[in-house]
Amino acid sequence: MRKQIKGTRILFPILLRQHRLRLLLWLAGLVLVTCFVAYAYPEMYPDQASREAYSITMENPAMIAMLGIGYEHYQEIGSLFALEMLLFSAIAVAVMNILLMSKLTRDDEENGILELVQSRSVGRLSYLTASFMVMLSVNILFVILLAAAMGSMQIEGFGFTGVVLYSGLLGSFGLLFGTMTAFFAHFVTSSRGTSVLSFAALFFFYLLRAVGDVNVVFLSWISPLGWLSRAYVFVENNVFPIGLLLVSSLGLGTLAFILQSKRDIGDGLLPERAGSVHASAFLKTKVGLVMRLQKTMIFMWTIGILLLNIVFALILGDLEAFFLENEAMQAFLTGEGSVMEQFIILLMGIMALFITAPVIISFLRLRGEEKANRTELVFSRAVSRMQLLKAYLIPSILIAVLLPILQAVALWSAGAAVSEDMMSFSDVLGASMVYIPALLLVLGMAVLFIGWLPRAASLVWLFLVYGFIVIYLGDILELPDWVRSLSIYEHVPVYPSEELSYAALLILCGISVFLLFIGAMGYKRRDIEG
């Protein structure tokens, strides 16, 4: 055993240094956002009446599907906070761990770093051990930082045991997903494949829990995300979910180590098919090539977004029943239109953010290809800058236009199947499609970056992150209007509850075309790196 992990002590600090900046930013972001939100809670729900109102809102199936099961009583302010924050913070921590571990395992293997290290007097399991140590340290550090920060704020209703448990849950959830990523890394041969598998698992567990929490309880017990809310943190403070998370991490971790010691370097356990000798006619077109390179990504996102819509559509019936039973609830409906309409409008707002992701990913691949030195060979053929740019724009535009339409179809047909008075198809379609110009605007921004500031291209993601913060935390943090209006998505007209403003849509479209044009000019003029 000793022999197997020889050299770990040298590798660990190197790997840690490699990733420290990114990790520190992640940790700082997670801790700060959590603390801000926690700080805001006591003021938002100052008295028992407002907490009861909150509990009624949270009992509705849509909320349960989105955020998990609620608590019996909301005596402790912390429990309100936990219901709203625990699940999504856990997802954020998992994302951090997935990105970290797929870099530390498959990515380093793919880039030949592992081979180089392995050629020295270093044990077969050392690299993986060091990677695990990095991941473990990050999660432990996160737990300590978060517990210390939240604890020191001494907010009323946030008992210290609860704070520690809350942090511990997040840390162990991160650990589980880091471990799971290391486990998946053995099956495919690319880091992209590794993170795709891990994200798919995370998403799958989310859906499982959503269905489970609303209807079929045992499904929630299969999903690690379902365990989190069973801790009833800040009220009952059950520790066993942490136990479950740690035990499953241990199991998966052991498997990951066993597989590592058995597998050849560079190999994946899933079989690779022998490929075709000739390219198909579709692949030989430029757009075809780009689509082929992105097909897994596009497929995964499409399936994910459609499933999410279907899951939410299935609870529409429950949602209505719930509102009919609770007459008191009617008072809390602030916006115009029926419950279902308001819910669908909110849902479409959130889904627009999700759809932004594949649009950005798809287009930024152009930059990824350049960084991987793969555009050089393309431009050495009779392909102009504009032709390649166009070949990348077409799939992104198709995603931005077709996904909203598809999701409307999915949402409406599933909704119509379970609920008698589903909104009209044209209204659902409209509610979804109003976001297309905003999606195109973000795409325009991406083109602008690729054209003029390619090195900073990933900053485009900030538009998405910011949009998410505004929608999800805007009310909690009481962001002023001008701060909200910095988010592109806030400029989308609310349809169907308000009159459709074509002017606003046209302005958004106009700006996107303008950005696209300026960006393309930059791309035409600049040096190509590789």
Partner: protein, 299 residues
């Protein structure tokens, strides 16, 4: 007829001057060697020719067209092979070759298959699993199988085994026979020596020497080995003689080519028994150039 022309091309990356007034002309049907140490600016020159980098100053033209503005047009008749070939990991080698060929319009399947055969390339595997040499073959096959009039090759054989290297050289000769033009940047000087009609040497972004191999040789020294009846006193003092050494009556030295006549006249007086002269290899030329330059710089 001039196929490719660089006219005082300068390239700056920020403050760093990568190319300084590089000029070069390739005539139709010739193989032009382009050599220089690491980081001298060969790839940068080639990327300007390919329209990937914009020259800070000067003009690059191919087939009389501007290399930057008309890049896509020019590339229809142009093939490029880089030293490190990066291709899409989840396509097969065969698919990549087809995709690259198709980007230039129609192509001959027969020619493609012929070159796949000649390079003994297995096109069924995913590109991620190919070795460096095999990835290079992808670009070489796509180049040789296309209807190009100009080949721009940047260390195209750095990963090939000797057998494949031979196939490559054979291919290049056929290309030349067909009247096509080749720009070959390479660190394998024997390859350049064997194939190239003319050579340019670049160093720190400047062309420091250019011409046919013979021209270049004239600028330098022959390696001489002489045995004479009597010991040639004073040979060392003769101008044009360098690094004279004696071993059991055998004299070895280097002789400046422009002093060759005097040296031979002088030696004849001592009764030459045996004389051998070897022209400097490109490698000697190359080394000499850098040694001299660096000693000049140090002085």
């Amino acid at each position: 007829m001039t196929v490719l022309q660089l006219d005082r091309v300068t390239k700056k990356f920020g403050d760093f001057q990568a190319l300084d007034q590089v000029s070069m002309e390739l005539n139709k049907g010739e193989i032009y060697g382009f050599i220089g140490p690491n980081g001298a600016g060969k790839s940068t020159t080639i990327r300007i020719l390919l329209g990937m980098l914009k020259a800070t100053d000067g003009r690059a033209t191919i087939f009389g067209k501007d290399a930057w503005k008309d890049a896509a047009e020019i590339h229809k008749r142009c093939a490029y092979v880089p030293g490190d070939v990066y291709v899409w990991p989840n396509l097969t080698g065969g698919e990549v070759i087809d995709v690259l060929l198709k980007m230039n319009g129609s192509y001959s399947e027969k020619k493609r298959d012929e070159w796949v055969e000649r390079f003994q390339f297995d096109p069924t595997k995913k590109a991620r699993s190919y070795s460096k040499g095999n990835r290079q073959k992808i670009a070489l096959i796509a180049a040789f199988a296309s209807e190009a009039d100009l080949f721009i090759l940047d260390e195209p054989t750095s990963g090939l085994d000797p057998l494949m290297e031979h196939t490559f050289q054979q291919g290049l000769r056929e290309v030349k026979e067909a009247g096509k033009t080749v720009l070959l940047s390479s660190h394998i000087l024997s390859e350049v020596e064997k194939l190239c009609d003319r050579v340019a040497i670049i160093r720190k972004g400047k062309i420091i020497e250019r011409g046919t191999l013979n021209d270049l040789r004239h600028l330098t020294r022959m390696q001489m080995q002489v045995e004479t009846r009597e010991s040639p006193e004073g040979l060392a003092k003769l101008s044009g003689v360098h690094q004279l050494e004696e071993e059991r009556g055998q004299f070895t030295f280097q002789a400046d080519t422009d002093h060759m006549e005097e040296i031979i006249d002088y030696l004849n007086k001592y009764g030459v028994r045996k004389m051998e002269s070897t022209p400097p290899t490109l490698e000697d030329l190359f080394m000499r150039h850098y040694e001299e330059r660096s000693s000049e710089e140090n002085a």
